[in-house]
């Protein structure tokens, strides 16, 4: 049988408590301790100090922020007379951005997009209710204006 070097980083959990397996008995260096045997022999991943993997830009984050801002503004504007038409437009745009952000962002990171979506829905409902009441009266006024 060939004497094979253990893969780098391999650690026998039972080192020091019992003799190492026969294939390692003739090696100069005993296997290191602490790590369970790994199938395939790959070394454990080395992370930089702090323990977290490096983070890149999160896709859809800009859209999530925009949808949140639009949701907040549209909820506020919905209460002010004819500004509810602006609220309606902002709520629709905020809703579309929130949906796109929720699809693009990784699972578990789309909280801001969800908040933007909820606020946009509330603003849409408010503006629809308050605006439609104005709209029916407006239609009557327009009918009068055309004669």
């Amino acid at each position: 049988m060939d004497n094979q070097q253990p893969p780098q980083g391999y650690q026998d959990p039972n080192a020091g408590q019992q003799q190492p397996p026969p294939e390692y008995q003739n090696n100069a260096a005993p296997p290191p301790q602490g790590y369970p045997p790994q199938q395939g022999g790959y070394p454990p991943t080395q992370y930089p100090q702090g323990g977290y993997p490096p983070q890149g830009p999160i896709p859809g984050k800009g859209k999530a922020i925009a949808s949140l801002v639009m949701g907040i503004v549209s909820v506020v504007l919905a209460w002010f007379g004819y500004l509810s038409i602006v609220s309606l437009v902002l709520a629709i745009v905020g809703l579309i951005l929130a949906i796109q952000a929720r699809k693009e962002m990784p699972v578990g990171t789309a909280g801001m997009a969800t908040a933007g979506m909820v606020l946009s829905i509330i603003a849409l409902a408010l503006a629809a209710i308050l605006l439609i009441c104005v709209a029916i009266a407006g239609a009557a006024l327009c009918a009068v204006a055309s004669y």
């Binding site: 209460w79 038409i85 629709i92 579309i96 699809k103 308050l130 009441c133 407006g138 327009c142």
Partner: protein, 281 residues
Amino acid sequence: MFPPILIAGREIGPYGIMAILGALVAALYVWRTNKGGRAGHIKNDDLLHIFLMMVAGVFIGAKVLYLIVNIPLFVRSWAIFMAQPALLLNYLVGGMVFYGGLIGGLLAVLWYCRKYQVPFKTVAGLMTPMIPLFHTFGRVGCFLGGCCWGVEAHWGVTYHYSPAAPNEVPLMPIQLFEAAGNLVLFVVLAYLSRRLVRKWLVLPLYLVCYAAMRFVLEFFRGDTARGVWLLSTSQWIALGMLVGVALLWLLKWRKQQDTPPEDSQPPENPGQQPRQAQAIP
């Protein structure tokens, strides 16, 4: 007209309340149906997104078509609007057209399904019945709010405080007739979406049935003339829907006729003898 409800100092009209109620009932229906799975199934996240996209598309489409239809009025009343800007705001704010909302909603759903690879046919089979369900509530809201009124009829309903419909005149409650028609359509489509193998067929069925119903009911609408050359805008769109669905059906049928069946295709090697079935010992 049903009086508005006062909430936090704001008047809330009955039409808006019925529209919100209709949207909630439609959402509940589609969520339960998706959970049951008999009319098709998609992920809950996609279901929510598609529903919201449809709502956004309905608002945009309904408003855009309303503005397009009222361009002649806008041009005719330009001087009045310039003198009284509040009237211009009322014009911009007032009114929506159902067919515009339907087209806008369908386009929004199509866009989402293409962008995020959700099967449109599954969505069509699952969500089409909720359209007439929502519309039922909307038409009841029209009746309560006093808009989209019918022609004069001595047996009809008389409004006293309507800001839109003529008061002290008995009018046919055409809104309720259309609400009843939509309710029947919903029941039929909900049943078929569970029974049909090709569930997406409920969408063209809805388009055809609603177009026919709307075309007939438009003749009994009493609000101001809306349209071009004898027919109203909605009647022209209804005709367009009927023709469009018929054309698509014809194209699909021709394509099926042009594709030969598998057993009539020639063998790959003309000189090769056909394989004979071997007897089972």
